[in-house]
Amino acid sequence: MIEPIVVVSNIIDGLLMGLLYSLVALGLSLIFGLMDIINFAHGDFVMIGAYLAWILAMNFMVDPSVTALITVPLFFVIGLAVYKAVIEPILGAEPLIQIAVTVGLGFVLQNIALAIFHAEPRSYPAPALNFGINVGPITLTAAKLVAAAVSLASLLLIHYMLTRTKFGLAIRATSANRMVAPLMGINVGKVYAVVFGLGIALTALGAALYMSWGQVNPYLGASFSLLSWVIVAMGGLGGVVGVLASGLIVGVLEALGSTFITPSARMAVVYLAFFLLLWFRPRGLFARR
């Protein structure tokens, strides 16, 4: 017997999570749209970011979400460095080489986490925001509300940056035609580096928000990577709006699948829906004909 109230509360929970997933996936989407590189280590940056948030939270006894103030700028710089050291050398290389390099990067990050923290999950024992808020018969987690609100604000901010600022124009022009962009006076190398840094910074933000209630183990990256790929593939050419819409869909499917089938089937449900979508709209939800 399925209670309507359970369905509704799952949908709301899924929407909240969907916003967080959109935030993480947006980084992957920007990087892929600009450089044609699929960063297979994307989720592993979320995982490292989550450990970092956990360490800082434990040391300073603050809620993990607050540590974003430190981890986001730090990850931006790390992103610049990773771009220079790992990504720039493989731009325009054979896809197989690009895959090998970014998958390898993901494994390195996982192994670092395994070596330092071992496999047992970590979570912040005294999260300030992990309490319920009752809205009528539905209970929402405050931490998830905060995460969703911050994610939405960040998505809107990046949408504004892309559509209304000069640097956003440079990003969109370079995404549209990277051969011609330098002819406008655009320093394409700089655009690439900054966008990669931004994409990695967003993983740190997502990770810090998530650690307000979640737990991290060295394999956390895999699920964030998978969700991000599905969201980007579904979002197609839709930009921030596309990522947001498909992130919400994925979040809701995951929540419903986890409750009404079994928690371990959550990814299977997401993938089933993804395959169905590809069947009917092979170029994503928002592709123009």
Binding site: L169, R172, A173, M179, V180, P182, M184
Partner: protein, 238 residues
């Protein structure tokens, strides 16, 4: 000082291991219209791209207004005052017409003159003003070419490189393009143009270079080349 606007000296260039240009020497003087013609695959596009630092340079030097810019990256050459309308137009199709023009004025120097430049290109191409907010990918071929030229002009170039601007256009539009080129010369823009329409371009240009398999094989006054028997045989019969 009577330095050329653009000078290519002993250029050997290509793409990675693939050598295309062999000892190319040419110059474009201030106020000139120079045509570069030759058969498919001769290396005309490669020559223009080399002037902007977009190829692999094995040997030789590039000078802009007497300054050695051989090592200057592409985006900084644009800042210095060289612009190119690339082969195939290369407009940013997902962006609006207006955004394409804004992108053209990306450099600091160009941004300061944005309003002025917009007014200029809109009087040159009134169609673009009408279609300001349209997605560039929906423009017709002729309009897209106008946009590509307008976008290059937005960077306020002293030297404009045009790579087959009339390719695939209806004869009437081709004439319009050549009219614009003459008009630009009056505005003080120096022009190097690669063209398939050999007759039109030789009639418009002051001087011309003929390129075959990566080498300059003929050069001279455009008008005298028009009468050149060898050239007539090769191109004008079509």
């Amino acid at each position: 000082m009577c330095a050329s606007m653009l000078e290519l000296k002993g250029i050997h260039a290509g793409y990675g291991e693939f050598r295309v240009l062999h000892d190319v020497n040419m110059h474009v003087d201030k106020g000139e219209i120079v045509a570069l013609i030759g058969p498919n695959g001769a290396g005309k596009t490669t020559t223009l791209r080399t002037a902007l630092g977009m190829t692999t340079l094995y040997e030789g030097k590039v000078f802009f207004k007497g300054e050695d810019i051989t090592k200057v990256p592409t985006h900084k050459r644009v800042e210095k005052g060289i612009a190119m309308v690339p082969e195939g137009r290369g407009i940013f199709t997902p962006l609006t017409v207006y955004e394409n023009l804004l992108a053209g004025a990306y450099t600091k120097r160009a941004e300061e003159k944005l309003q002025d430049s917009l007014e200029f290109v809109f009087t040159l191409f009134p169609r673009l003003k009408e279609r300001k907010n349209q997605i560039a990918g929906t423009l017709s071929g002729g309009e897209a070419q106008m946009l590509a030229i307008a976008r290059a002009l937005m960077s306020r170039p002293e030297l404009l490189l045009l790579d087959e601007p009339s390719l695939g256009l209806a004869p009437k539009i081709v004439l319009e393009v050549f009219d614009v080129i003459k008009r630009l010369r009056e505005e003080g823009v120096t022009i190097l143009i690669v063209e398939q329409h050999v007759k039109n371009s030789l009639e418009t240009a002051d001087r011309a270079y003929v390129m075959e398999t990566g080498r300059i094989v003929l050069e001279g006054e455009a008008r005298s080349l028009l009468k050149d028997e060898r050239l007539k045989k090769a191109y004008l019969v079509i």
